[in-house]
């Protein structure tokens, strides 16, 4: 860059503060990264990734890249991670990773390869003489945004233009991939009605839990004949109950027993009241 500012030093933080910040952020980012490869649920993994991305954003800000710090928060944490969460929502409960190894000893060898890779990179970079930061120029001063804009629209203007084509292609590609062609004609109202009559279930499916004492979505509905129906509960909720070790069926049995007890008590009371009236 042509205009070099007179101020020396990296960022305008005190060295001791920047050191403390660095260690806090480094420990946070690395532990969240390790958590990412250990947790089972995809949602937890996404939250760990958010922690890593936000701490990296602060690291960018500390290294004199305020523009990149904001882009990191807005584009990565705001857009990319939300996209991940949307897909986790759409793909749903099967997104928990299975713990079964399909290749024998894969975890062990992957861990060993990771350690070897880390040693290779750290030794390699440790041997390279990385000095202290260059004195402050427009790169790491308040002039960051102007300098970046200058560079993007002069030296890197062609890659920048190519990026726009890439983004449009990506948007079109996502639309094409997400589009589903209708292979059969849309059923008319008459066909829908006929199919309903033929299926034997004209009324809507019974809603969950409203006939039992429990009024909850994971409670199966009790039919007029006293039996329960599994069709009233969403399979996703059944899977959640199984994972949490809950047993809605036991609750239903308890409800039935409570109903019988209340019924017999009412009969006794009615009998007693009848006697009282007799006297």
């Amino acid at each position: 860059m042509t205009h070099v500012l007179a101020a020396a030093g990296g960022t305008n933080l005190d060295p001791i503060y920047s050191k403390a910040m660095f260690w806090i952020l480094a420990v946070l980012a690395v532990s969240a990264g390790i958590g990412m490869i250990l947790v089972r649920q995809a949602v937890h993994c996404a939250l760990m990734l958010a922690v890593v991305m936000l701490s990296l954003a602060v690291m960018y800000a500390m290294q004199g890249a305020p523009f990149l710090a904001f882009v990191q928060v807005i584009v990565y944490t705001g857009a990319v991670l939300m996209l991940f969460l949307f897909v986790v929502m759409l793909i749903g409960l099967t997104s928990a990773d299975s713990l079964k190894e399909t290749i024998k000893g894969q975890r062990l060898w992957a861990g060993l390869a990771g350690i070897a890779f880390a040693v290779l990179l750290i030794v390699g970079i440790g041997h390279a003489a990385i000095g202290n930061a260059a004195p402050q120029t427009s790169a790491n001063s308040t002039d960051n945004l102007t300098g970046l804009a200058q560079l993007i629209f002069t030296t890197y203007v062609f890659p920048f233009e190519v990026t726009s084509a890439l983004l449009i292609t990506a948007a079109l590609g996502a639309m094409v991939l997400a589009h589903r062609e209708r292979t059969s004609p849309k059923p008319t109202q008459r066909e829908v009605a006929r199919r309903k009559i033929e299926s034997g279930q004209v009324a809507p499916e019974p809603p969950p839990g409203v006939y039992a004492l429990h009024n909850a979505v994971d409670m199966p509905a009790m039919l007029p004949d006293g039996s329960t129906t599994s069709r009233s509960v969403s399979p996703a909720i059944v899977q959640r109950d199984v994972e949490l070790g809950l047993e809605p069926q036991a609750d239903v049995a308890a409800d039935l027993a409570a109903g019988q007890r209340i019924g017999s008590e009412r009969e006794l009371e009615a009998g007693a009241a009848g006697k009282g009236e007799d006297q």
Binding site: M1, S18, A26, A29, V30, G33, M36, I37, A42, A46, L49, V52, M53, M59, Q63, G64, A65, L68, V71, Q72, V75, Y76, V80, L83, F84, V87, L90, I91, T94, S95, D97, S98, T102, A113, G114, F117, A118, I130, G131, N132, A133, A134, Q136, T137, S138, A139, L148, L151, I152, Y156, T163, L166, L167, T169, A170, A171, G173, A174, L177, A178
Partner: protein
């Protein structure tokens, strides 16, 4: 802190991402690990930009972010299409080309 410390953090994050890609079976989680690796690269680029006192590294990190956003959009759309067809997001189940 000297830029070298940041580069070492970037190295560790990159290795964690690589191990995640190797270990995970679910395509979404593999994607998240790839994102972690891209973020680690960005951190290294920004650190080297500070080391050299110019802005080229930051511009490259900016382009990496743009490409990563495009990659995530297309990758997740492919993932959705596979899930729709095979009712599974596991990379072990997508074996139509086998045999």
């Amino acid at each position: 802190m000297s830029p070298a410390a940041y580069v070492f953090v970037a190295v560790i994050l990159f290795v964690i991402g690589a191990v995640g890609v190797l270990v995970r079976r679910n395509a979404i989680l593999i994607f998240m690990s790839v994102e972690l690796m891209l973020n680690a690269c960005n951190l290294a680029f920004v650190s080297f930009a500070r080391l050299h006192g110019n802005l080229d590294g930051q511009v490259v990190a900016f382009f990496v972010m743009v490409v990563a956003a495009a990659e995530v959009v297309v990758g997740l759309a492919i993932l959705m299409a596979i899930y729709r067809a095979r009712k599974s997001a596991s990379v072990d189940d997508a074996n139509l080309l086998k045999n």
